[in-house]
Amino acid sequence: MINSDERVSKLKHRPPKTDWMDTPTVYKKGMYCYAAKPSRLEYMDAPYPKDWSCIDEDWQLPENWKEILLNGMKERLEKFRTFKIFMDICVRCGACADKCHFFIGTGDPKNMPVLRAELLRSVYRNNFTKAGKILGRIGGARELTVDVLKEWWYYFFQCTECRRCSVFCPYGIDTAEITIIGRELLNLLGLNIDWIAAPVAFCYRTGNHMGIQPHAFVDMIDFFTDEVETVTGVRMEQTFNKKGADLLFICPSGDVFGDPGTFTCMGYMIIMHYLREVHGLDITWSTYASEGGNFGLFTSNETMKRLNAKMYAEAKRLKVKWILGAECGHMWRVINQYMVTMNGPADFLEEPSNPITGTKFENAKATKMIHLAEFLSDLIINKKLDLDPSRNDRLKVTFHDSCNPARGAGILEEPRYVIKNTCNNFYEMPRNTIREQTFCCGCGSGLNAGEDMELRMTGGMPRGNAARYVSDLHGVNTLACMCAIDRAVLPALMGYWAPKVDVCGLSELVANALIIPGEKEKTENLRGEPILRKDVDPDEWYVRPDFPGRE
């Protein structure tokens, strides 16, 4: 892969000479994910499982594939007002065009949100509108062909459903919604990517995307318990599937599985231990509902519902008061905008209030699920956490708003409040790249695979660029985020675009700053980095050690 400087110098945003309908889709290596293996679809009883590759000439489509897609479109036009309106009212004003990270990073005009939608809209016009039927191509309509289908597949898996374009659209047209429906249509023919289909099947079977079976899940947490003990001197036993616990805790399994999410996971464990020891709050893990994320969101609304159902089912079985949800991006889009609608009402749970502070969480009285950042903010402002921010003095922190908590919920101030109370050095990235205007990591919505690294590095360019900006300007060396996909993918992105910046979760920062009863004298953080200035060479003080993804 070419380096970042060369990539920037080659980047052009001029569209090609040929009209987009006449520009064939070329599958470029590194820009797509591998096709879904048949076993994944079979496990979910999904239609048309097959052994195929997206670069095959023949996609082994069923004879009536066109009919299936068009019927699927018709059904969805009747089921989703969003789809119908978004197909009808776009005026192609172009406001969305340069809001997409994939367009900014690739210059490919079909990555302009307006054109991504036109890929579908052109077929909609052709088959569902009078004007399109009469005027044909002049009216912006085109026939659904295998080439069009392949174009859909390529570009609907080059959208991370981040909704940045929808912030700027004068009618609120949401490309995420269009991509979601586009992918639902593709799934009618078994045309998913494996990086989505596999986690879905795993999650359905084992309760989490990683496919971690219950005994292995316990073993992994046990391993972290040892690690945490080494650093803090305190043994922090966790409880699993415990009936009658106060709260059920659900995190994205990515944090249990891979660095640097594992440090965030240890952070969760330390916080839970602290709350148990100091405040008597009993929080349990579940191996059955061991996934916060939901790759069903990237497959179909039915799949999303099937995977999400475990959260309430487990909360009911364990008879907890309410559910505490950890740091994950799309998980919180699902919880905030879909969960109670799909699987509610959650009348078997209590309206959530903080057992330690008594604060009622009015905003979650139906879903009965609280974001860890909301919970921590409430604890901090009520002085229920004993924090020493100077333990994080080696970090110069900036905060990356993940797309879904930002534009699918609006959880903006809570994480900042937590960071400011656990770190002394906090710097914001430029205004156009944070909060509701935040840029995607380039890997959301199931595109965080290994084979599409080129796509990830181009899509993550605006985020990488903004991180580089504060790294150069303020010496920022840590990008905090509250999303497991971010933690999994941003180290590589930072390695490419902003090599001095490491990645961490909120809970890692909290755990490092937390003064735990009975702890040994702290000299290192969870990553084994010395935290006292006297132990470190002054030139090395702000340098983060090597981390995975940094070359």
């Binding site: 700027f168 799909m342 009285k365």
Partner: protein
């Protein structure tokens, strides 16, 4: 360069010629002055209402507003009540700002790459400005035209005309709205033509309304300021239409009929085109719903029943392994 605008230009020229030949050579004043306008309004009303009904009938399975600010959470965290509304009141303000002032468009930025590969985001106001100028001048023009259909002319129309003709240039006095409309339409057209990305995404259907509105404004200006049609005759025709006693006064020039014909075409075209954004903007679920699904359960009318993997199935599959690590079990 994308030549799709040629189709639309050609279509509008043909439409103008049809009206010209029809009235000038064939004397079809009744057709162009009465029948087509009536039909056009009928098509507009039926088409517009049925489209809105069609949208309104389609369900909203999920509550998915795009949140553009801080949510309502803890009482001491300041919520952005407009960009992330929790109540109907907040939604009304958000929608009003969107519809009256094009708030989202106002936030528009432009991306460029600076030296050294830094990405730069600039506040881009021209599109917003042109959109505001276009829509408000068009609205003013439409309201001004009500004077042809109302007798006596309401006093508020008189006020509007006084403001619109504030500069008192020429005789009859120049209305700013007409000039602004023409300018804004021209800008929006040139933008589509010369900004490469805009050109790339533009369809014939994007140019057609611009050409037709340009022609309407242009012929209107010709009638008022240059051919100086007899306003009393035009009013007689309009009042006839409005009172369902249509008459065709003598001596109204062909330019007027072209103007009227293009307006009729615009009306009839409206419900089948992107111009329906006028109605759609009110119904867009990412803007017109509060972000409060966590507090108030939103009902999906077609909530599907799905097969789920139950805990007992899970325990059945993994019982021995769970036992091995001491996890509590429902069935031993």
């Amino acid at each position: 360069m994308n030549k799709k605008y040629m189709y639309s230009l050609l279509a509008v020229i043909v439409l103008i010629l049809i009206a010209y030949v029809g009235v000038e050579a064939m004397g079809l004043q009744v057709l162009f002055g009465v029948i087509i306008p009536y039909l056009a309004v009928l098509v507009f009303i039926i088409g517009f209402i049925s489209h809105i009904m069609d949208w309104a009938r389609s369900p909203v399975p999920f509550r998915i507003p795009t949140t553009c600010g801080q949510q309502k959470s803890l009482p001491w965290i300041k919520q952005n009540k407009i960009d992330n509304p929790f109540t109907a009141g907040g939604v009304i303000i958000r929608m009003a700002l969107e519809i009256l002032f094009f708030r989202s468009l106002f936030k528009n930025t432009k991306v460029s790459l600076n030296e050294g590969g830094k990405i730069c985001y600039k506040w881009e106001k021209w599109l917003w400005l042109a959109a505001i100028a276009f829509h408000y001048s068009f609205l003013t023009v439409i309201i001004r035209h009500l004077r042809f259909f109302l007798e006596p002319v309401p006093v508020c129309l008189q006020w509007l005309e006084n403001i619109d003709g504030f500069f008192q240039i020429g005789l009859p006095g120049l209305f700013m709205s007409g000039a602004v409309l023409l300018g804004a339409v021209t800008f929006l057209f040139l933008r589509r033509l010369y900004i490469p990305q805009m050109n790339y995404i533009s369809l014939a259907a994007d140019y057609f309304p611009l050409f037709i509105i340009f022609s309407i404004a242009f012929t209107g200006i010709l009638i008022r300021y240059f051919t100086k049609v007899n306003v009393v005759d035009v009013k007689a025709l309009a009042m006839g239409l409005a009172s369902f006693h249509p008459t065709i006064p003598e001596g109204i020039g062909v330019i007027f009929y072209i103007h009227l014909f293009l307006v009729s075409i615009l009306f009839a075209y409206f419900p089948f085109s992107k111009l329906m954004h006028l109605g759609g903007v009110f119904l867009s679920p990412t803007r017109n719903l509060p972000n409060n699904t966590r507090a108030y359960m939103h009902i999906n009318p077609w909530n599907p029943s799905v097969k789920i993997h139950t805990y007992s199935e899970y325990e059945d599959e993994f019982r021995e392994k769970m036992k091995g690590v001491g996890l509590p079990l429902e069935k031993e």
